[in-house]
Symmetry: C2
Subunit: 217 residues, 2 copies
């Protein structure tokens, strides 16, 4: 019974995601779906990456939150076009929300659109948005076992950021254990160590996006 | 249309939650529903609290995870009865899962049962389990704005733990901003600062549970 209810909803979303993909391609936008736990540093990372994108490209952000516009306000303060989606209670963004947000944002490329998904390691995995790449942000204080506990999101990642790497000397986090746990479900995605506080690793992450973009758009 | 589909599901869960409540009361168990983001330190906190419960009480844990039995293994290693629930993809525990886990656990009181919910600040709010108290665990590295971004879970908390307080000198986290954000949605729940690494504050948290239990069971 549950499957009968869920299946058409997922398909409708997937169909809209395909339309979004066509729209993004026509606009020459590379679209990055940024997913993480609450407080892993998604907004800080997006702001750091925006700084590292060459000026010939356009830039935009869609901010997803259950409530508040704190993150969108931070993005707007640095002069980057941003649209806030508040989901009320929903635990993920969906392709229809992105379609409406794109109408509002009026962004055209060539350029980069970052979508900050809801802080959640489970729900966003089931809803494609039409994105070019899935970026999963883990952070050192969360512990090295997250890929074992939340395998689906790490499995679908095109790129994994390990944020708050500056806290590594202070916290019991084993880099090797984290890498092994990722590799058990995802053999290919690069794992890039970053600190949004010190800026370490941000250039490497930005370079990956630029290279990926040249291949895809 | 969505409401028509969701309503009966929620009611069936609520009815089972009421049956669980009766069962817990008959068994003289205080049941704590522990909710938090991934990596906030739920398991470490439960282990610390277990140490602080007087020996005349029975103790048990139900561990909820999307995948793996890492947390249940940690609990079992210290000799406390534990049952693992793996939800597959589901982002929250529900009252039926707890009923089945109780059959497995065979715990009778007077005592304490900790239920570690799925690491998620959104989904668990909609599913009552029959618990005596809701404990929300926030942690310093997640940032002081979480109650603004995820208001529902902080609103329903009977007790809020701010974990990883030992990292406070190293991270830009304003205690006053966090407290103000909690108080905007929840005027009553105590906010207890804890470090599961140093043990700071654990006795205060345990004392609150013991007092609450005397009032409720």
């Amino acid at each position: 019974m549950k499957i009968n209810v869920r299946k058409p909803i997922l398909s409708a979303n997937d169909e809209q995601a395909e339309r979004n993909k066509v729209r993004f391609k026509a606009s020459q936008l590379m679209v990055v779906n940024v997913m993480a736990s609450p407080g892993a540093g998604k907004t800080s990372l997006i702001m750091r990456l925006l700084e590292n994108i060459p000026l010939e490209f356009s830039r935009g952000v869609i901010e997803g939150d259950v409530a508040s516009s704190i993150d969108a306000d931070r993005i707007a303060a640095v002069g980057v076009p941003v649209t806030q989606i508040n989901t009320g209670g929903a635990c993920h963004l969906d392709a229809f929300m992105i379609d409406r947000a794109m109408d509002d944002l009026e962004l055209s490329g060539p350029g980069y659109l970052f979508i900050e998904n809801i802080g959640n390691l489970i729900c966003p995995t089931n809803f494609r948005l039409g994105e070019t790449a899935d970026m999963v942000v883990a952070s050192v204080p969360e512990g090295d076992d997250k890929p074992i506990k939340y395998p689906a999101i790490f499995a679908q990642a095109d790129m994994i950021i390990l944020n708050k790497i500056d806290l590594l000397p202070l916290i019991d986090f084993k880099l090797q254990a984290f890498t092994a746990a990722v590799r058990a479900v995802n053999e290919e995605a690069p794992i890039i160590n970053v600190s949004c506080t010190t800026g370490e690793g941000v250039d490497t992450a930005a370079r990956w996006l630029l290279q990926k973009n040249m291949g895809s758009v």
